[in-house]
């Protein structure tokens, strides 16, 4: 999946004016898409296709019209959005911790790598949705089952990228650290983890996007609250506006989560950006 997760290529046209023109063109394209959707949906008058303005106002009243003391979140939002986000982040955090720890160990120890290779290949080939019923059986309906499903589903990108990153740390650095008699813990903290950081971050980012998907699948399969459960309610009551609201909310959520991680990643990896190294 790494091929699709690459950073966007820098714009070819240099200069501030080119950037501004591009920005305006992009804004225009997005605006045209939204306006086209609005006009098209209104002209069609089809009950299944709602115009975006109606979806947006519905979303506002459903989730973000609450008292200031609750950060403007409504009761519906605190009852459904927060549990879903909590499960997603908990599952991702477990996967991140376990994935990095195991991945670095496998990446640095050739014997362990040989032993673990078929297991890792098989584990990441298992489609995570097939395990949701298993977790449903082991944990019954509830948060532990959803967290487990998210954690198992998203550990693989972190694990594989951590293995790859730790394995390919520049031997010059590790040998130097050895020559200076750094302890194993120091080598890990000062040489191996920073050397593998870029790969690890790429894995963490992929798995964060995946966590959103696994959260929804697990909530579809069995839950008593959460965004997925709200979607099931909408389905059983044919509440089409609610369906659209959830779809748009999750689309925005995916982008916000990705942007937040990109920001954090830029902070974490700031020291190894080529621009600063050259300066």
């Amino acid at each position: 999946m790494s091929a699709t997760a690459g950073p966007p290529a820098p714009a070819l046209t240099g200069g501030a004016r080119g950037g501004l023109v591009l920005f305006l063109v992009r804004l225009l394209v997005m605006a045209a898409a939204v306006i086209g959707w609005q006009l098209g949906a209104r002209a069609a008058g089809n009950p299944y296709f709602l115009p975006p303005a109606q979806i947006a106002s519905g979303m506002y009243h459903r989730w973000f019209d609450g008292p200031a003391s609750h950060l403007w979140l409504t009761a519906d939002a605190t009852a459904n959005l927060l549990p879903s986000l909590g499960r997603m982040l908990a599952g991702w955090a477990i996967a991140a911790t376990a994935g990095v720890a195991l991945g670095v160990a496998i990446g640095r120890l050739p014997l362990l790598a040989d032993l673990a290779e078929p297991l890792v290949h098989l584990g990441r080939a298992v489609p995570p949705p097939t395990l949701v019923p298993v977790f449903l059986f082991l944990f019954k309906i509830g948060t532990p089952m959803e967290v487990a499903a998210v954690a198992f589903g998203v550990i693989w990108p972190v694990l594989v990228n951590s293995i790859d990153g730790a394995r390919h740390v520049d031997a010059g650095y590790t040998e130097t650290a050895r020559a200076f008699r750094l302890s194993a813990a120091q080598r890990l903290r000062r040489v191996i983890l920073p050397g593998a950081a870029q790969k690890i971050c790429a894995g963490l980012r992929l798995s964060l996007a995946l966590a959103l998907v696994m959260m929804i699948i697990s909530e579809f399969a069995g839950s008593t609250d959460g965004i997925g459960n709200e979607m099931l309610t909408a389905q059983s009551t044919f509440d089409i506006p609610l369906m659209w609201q959830i779809i748009v909310l999750l689309g925005i959520l995916g982008i916000v989560i990705n942007a937040a991680f990109a920001l954090a990643e830029r902070h974490i990896l700031a020291w190894q950006r080529p621009g600063q190294a050259a300066a």
Binding site: M1, S2, A3, T4, P8, A9, A11, L12, V25, R26, L28, V29, M30, Y48, L111, A113, D114, L115, A116, E117, P118, L119, V120, H121, L122, G123, A125, V126, P127, P129, T130, L131, P133, V134, L136, F137, L138, V160, I163, D164, L212, V213, I216, I217, F220, A221, M231, A234, Q235, F238, I240, M243, W244, I246, I247, L250, G251, G254, I255, N258
Partner: protein, 270 residues
């Protein structure tokens, strides 16, 4: 000569160790479950899972489900390639269009397609078509984006060289652009193939009354309720997924040997 022998013996050693690792983990799990006297209904023994997997291997019902999933998968992949490759070629050769549309693509791409299941079911009113729509939506992005990258990375020098020899736009496209972009598109197709398989199972699991592997597990979950069978289905699905990936990776290596010789691509495990 000696180099060949050492790589061969190293590969053999990796094979032995890999098998040992599998046996070690399964054996440890088996012993731990025995020692703790965990009831087989609470958590199945690895031996029970392997036994169920062997039974599933000869079960007509299971393979009918696999066939149903694979039929949808194949159709979805054909639609995906038919849409995403031409679109990628178009956007890749017109950088201004690609740059103008990129926010829209970046908005649509990370969207979790499974959320659409209830709405698409309601609109399409057909299980198979719903599954197709969702799977194609999920699978299209890796192919599209890899094709764009591939076309964009075509050597300007090679194109100019051909042009200066008097070749027209069509020969340049076929002799330079297509061969250098194809390996990237193929990588996108391989990623999409694995993704499509997983998403198809997810749709079958979530949608009610569907066919396929996902529906098979959902039915087992409600019926026998045996975790050993559920894990056996997951195991078989994993093996099928591995097989799919191996077929596509093998085809890539065969078709684009020259490309892999030029650019040693890593990133895969081992």
């Amino acid at each position: 000569m000696t180099a060949g022998i050492t790589t061969a013996s190293r590969a053999a050693r990796r094979g032995y160790r890999g098998a040992a690792g599998l046996l070690l983990v399964l054996g440890a799990a088996q012993l731990a479950l025995w020692a703790a006297q965990v009831s087989p209904t609470a958590f199945p023994l690895p031996s029970a899972v392997l036994d169920s997997a062997a039974h599933l291997g000869t079960s007509g019902g299971f393979w009918a489900s696999v066939g149903s999933t694979m039929a949808v998968w194949a159709t979805a992949m054909a639609i995906t390639v038919a849409i995403a490759v031409p679109a990628g070629l178009l956007l890749g050769t017109r950088p201004w269009a690609e740059r103008a549309l990129s926010p829209l693509i970046e908005f649509l791409r990370p969207f979790p397609a499974v959320v659409l299941i209830p709405l698409v079911l309601l609109i399409v009113q057909d299980d198979t078509k719903t599954e197709l729509v969702i799977v194609v939506y999920a699978a299209i992005w890796p192919v599209l984006i890899n094709t764009i990258y591939g076309v964009r990375g075509v050597s300007q020098l090679a194109k100019e060289t051909l042009r200066s020899f008097g070749f027209g736009p069509l020969p340049v496209a076929f002799l330079v652009s297509a061969p250098s972009a194809a390996p990237f598109a193929a990588t996108g197709v391989r990623i999409a193939a694995s993704l499509a398989f997983v998403v198809a199972i997810a749709v079958e699991l979530v949608g009610t009354g569907m066919n396929g592997i996902g529906a098979f597990t959902a039915a087992e979950e409600g019926g026998t309720g045996s975790t050993a069978i559920l894990l056996a289905v997951a195991l078989w699905s994993g093996l099928i997924g591995l097989g799919l990936n191996a077929v596509f990776a093998g085809a890539e290596r065969l078709a684009f040997r020259w490309h892999f010789a030029l650019a040693a691509t890593s990133g895969e495990l081992g």
